[in-house]
Amino acid sequence: MNLPLIVFFFFSFLAVAGAVMVILAREPIHSALSLILVMTALATLYLLLGAEFIAAVQILVYAGAIMVLFVFVIMLLNMGVEERTDFSKLAKFAGLPLAFVLLLFIAHWLWHSPVAGAAASGPGQTTGFSTVDLSRLLFTSYLFPFEATSILILIAILGAMVLARKEE
């Protein structure tokens, strides 16, 4: 009986199912909810991988902020179900096979990646990453990207305000 494996498969199933739902759902809200499902599932997988901080951030920022924004906007506009137009023949016919081919390539490479064999999670695995080290890394070697990102955020806020403001 292998608990981590069970957990992994359960949540990866959830994630994939959610992703599929994102595609199939016609109601944007449903897509959003499915995506939230995917994200939470991934968060759990992160926990399984021992990345607690990332898991928390994943939920907090992604599910808790970004997706809330999405849901909020969907509700605000409330444009109803999406219409299934097919003006782009290219996308209609070539899209799926191409995506599949791409998926094959990526999967192939990832599967044969040198570290793929390593054990990721489970009893044989060292305990999770320490948040302290992570933050130390973030504020030393990655200080500049960090600051840059914060500036990016600031600009994004301003941009969003300017864009969404109703001009009188």
């Binding site: 782009s88 990526i106 044969h112």
Partner: protein
């Protein structure tokens, strides 16, 4: 020494005048334009005078005095400064140009009084003065070349002043293009000079050529190339054809540019480059030959012309020929001397002709004139003086200069009897057609309709310059007078440093230097008494008087003689009358083939097919492919996404298959 330290002032004045008139003169009153134009030129003349005063105080070793203002351009070893220089030659030229120029400006105010584009005319005229003075003052070939081309431009602008008249516009173009041919040679010459001497600076060139001997072949080539430029500019064979047509321009322009100043630039240049020429005997010979032949040839054409200005034009050509003859036989001083006197009397002649035309209300055909003697006395007398001067009648300016030239051709170091003979015959013809002109114009019965044409003497501001120039035409040559009675030719004496400073040891610079230490070895000064007699009874005088008499016989005594003569020598007459069909020959040999090639090859094939074809083809290709490719930009984001994926897959395939990432 205000002016000497600021030579640029002399240039700045006419340029400023030209700019002011050209930019603002359009709506100004004539008097305002006059005051600007004449003011600037007269100030220029005054500063030149001041310059001469200052120059006279310079020590011998300070000459030439060079004023270097700024480095114009540098490329590697090629370095050109905007530098001006003053030496005796420059002084002479400056005085002549600025003074005659000033007079002609004044004259123009009267002559052009009723013309349109008044301000334009004076703007051009001032501009011309600027460039001419630049040419004269230049201290290196490049600056000289600027002036050289500048005067060419102004000549073009002024010949085509009445550009609405097709013939005028064509004449302008013809002048410009023809001189361009010569200028090409000049340019090549300059480049060759730089290649040889690593400098375009006069002093440097001369010093080096004097210090280190250069192979004569190179020097000859250089000199011939330079002389090509001179041929173009000074209307020598075979490039003289533009000058007669240039008479389309207003008469003052003909006087200033095509008699007094610009056309003499070639002579000036040759004289300026004398250290080179003196070391290239072949080139010298060529110069002399071309000069002599031109002198004779164009004189013959002058015989039959009936247009008063055309006659003067051909006589100008022939007189320029004399100057080159002088230079060719090494008598630069004589050449310059003749240049100056010629500036006086030929300028005067043109102005008088202008006055006549003015009086006749625009009529230029001598056959429709006659008997104007009483009606316009001032013009008549001044013109008579000028004619006497050009005919070389003793006592007048022309006598001294022409006499010196022929003297040099006869007995100078490079003496050549054939050339001398040509010169003498030319002199005969000259005096003949000049008096022919005078007699046809002022004597005999009026051949025009007196009821329509109201002949009237020109206004004050036109006659005064005439008189001044007449005065100069008489006394302008008397510098040389003392020589006749065994004294010194002051003019030569004055110019001597320029021509002797870098002269080769063997060459004899001037013909009659009495200064013993300037005498070449094996050359003894003749005795004074002989000189006077010899000069007065010399061939030039004789032929001059002979020409006068013949002309008198033909056109006053028995006016029908010429016609009979023309009948009897019909072939020759027509040939000469049509100027030896030179224009036609040129047209047949050069112009038409050129046109044909330009039209059928360069235009219809090279330009239309090749160049336009290429350009249009490229454009068309771009448009077509764009027209096809733009369909990709459907504006539909989904297809964009699909394209992105296609790209990604393509890249993946590249990595996998080609770069072997497995």
């Amino acid at each position: 020494m205000p002016i000497l330290n600021h030579l640029w002032i002399i240039l700045a004045l006419p340029l400023a005048g030209s700019a002011v008139n050209g930019l603002f003169g359009k709506n100004w009153s004539k008097s305002a334009v006059n005051s600007v134009a004449i003011g600037s030129v007269s100030l220029a003349f005054l500063s030149v005078a001041e310059l001469v005063r200052e120059f006279s105080h310079l020590a011998a070793d300070q000459i030439p005095y060079v004023g270097n203002y700024f480095t114009w351009m540098t490329a590697g070893t090629f370095r050109v400064d905007f530098a001006l220089q003053v030496d005796q030659l420059t002084v002479v030229m400056l005085l002549t140009v600025s003074f005659v120029g000033m007079l002609i400006h004044i004259y123009s105010t009267g002559y052009m009084a009723h013309e349109g584009g008044y301000y334009r005319f004076f703007s051009y005229l001032n501009l011309f003065m600027f460039f001419m003075l630049t040419l004269v003052l230049a201290a290196n070939l490049i600056v000289m070349f600027v002036g050289w081309e500048g005067v060419g431009l102004c000549s073009y602008l002024l010949i085509g002043f009445w550009f609405l008249k097709k013939s005028a516009a064509d004449a302008g173009k013809k002048a410009f293009i023809t001189t361009r041919i010569g200028d090409f040679g000049f340019t090549v010459g300059i480049l060759l000079i730089f290649a040889v001497f690593q400098s375009v600076d006069f002093t440097t060139i001369f010093k080096s050529v004097a210090a280190t001997p250069i192979s004569e072949g190179v020097l000859t080539t250089i000199c011939i190339l330079l002389f090509t430029g001179a041929i173009g500019k000074s209307a020598q064979l075979p490039l003289y054809v533009w000058l007669p047509d240039a008479m389309e321009g207003p008469t003052p322009v003909s006087a200033l540019i095509h008699a007094a100043t610009m056309v003499t630039a070639g002579v000036y240049m040759v004289a300026r480059m004398n250290p080179l020429f003196s070391r290239a005997p072949v080139a010298m010979l060529i110069v002399a030959i071309v000069g002599a032949i031109t002198a004779f040839y164009s004189a013959t054409i002058g015989l039959t012309q009936t247009d008063i200005k055309k006659v003067l034009a051909y006589s100008t050509v022939s007189q320029l020929g004399y100057m080159f003859l002088a230079c060719g036989v090494g008598a630069y001083a004589a050449g310059i001397f003749h240049l100056m006197t010629h500036a006086f009397f030929k300028g005067l002649l043109f102005l008088c002709a202008g006055s006549v035309i003015h009086a006749m209300g625009g009529e230029q055909d001598m056959m429709k004139m006659g008997g104007l003697r009483k009606k316009i006395p001032i013009t008549y007398w001044t013109m008579l003086i000028a004619t006497l001067a050009i005919a070389g009648i003793p006592g007048f300016a022309g006598f001294f200069s022409k006499d010196e030239i022929l003297e040099a051709a006869q007995s100078g170091p490079h003496a050549n009897l054939v050339l001398w003979l040509l010169g003498v015959v030319g002199a005969l013809l000259t005096s003949f057609y000049m008096f022919r002109l005078v007699f046809l114009t002022f004597f005999g019965k009026p051949r025009y309709d007196e009821h329509h044409v109201h002949v009237h003497e020109s206004p004050f501001n036109m006659t005064v310059p005439l008189m001044i120039l007449a005065f100069l035409s008489i006394f302008g040559g008397w510098f040389a007078a003392p020589k006749l009675i065994g004294g010194i030719d002051h003019f030569e004496k004055f110019l001597d440093p320029v021509f002797s400073m870098y002269a080769p040891a063997t060459a004899v610079v001037s013909v009659r230097v009495v200064d013993p230490n300037l005498l070449p070895p094996g050359y003894s000064a003749p005795t004074p008494g002989m000189d006077l007699l010899h000069a007065l009874t010399g061939w030039p005088v004789i032929v001059g008087i002979l020409g006068l008499l013949v002309a008198w016989w033909f056109y006053v005594k028995s006016p029908d003689t010429p016609k009979r003569l023309a009948k009897s020598l019909h072939g020759l007459y027509t040939l000469i009358f049509h100027k030896y069909y030179v224009d036609e020959i040129y047209a047949a040999l050069i112009v038409r083939p050129l046109l044909w090639i330009s039209t059928n090859v360069l235009w219809h094939v090279v330009d239309e097919r090749v160049i336009d074809g290429t350009v249009n083809g490229v454009a068309a290709a771009a448009r077509e492919s764009g027209g096809e490719l733009r369909k990709i930009q459907s504006g539909n984001m989904r297809s964009y996404a699909a394209w992105v994926i296609i790209g990604a897959v393509g890249f993946a395939v590249l990595l996998f298959a080609v770069l072997g990432m497995r």
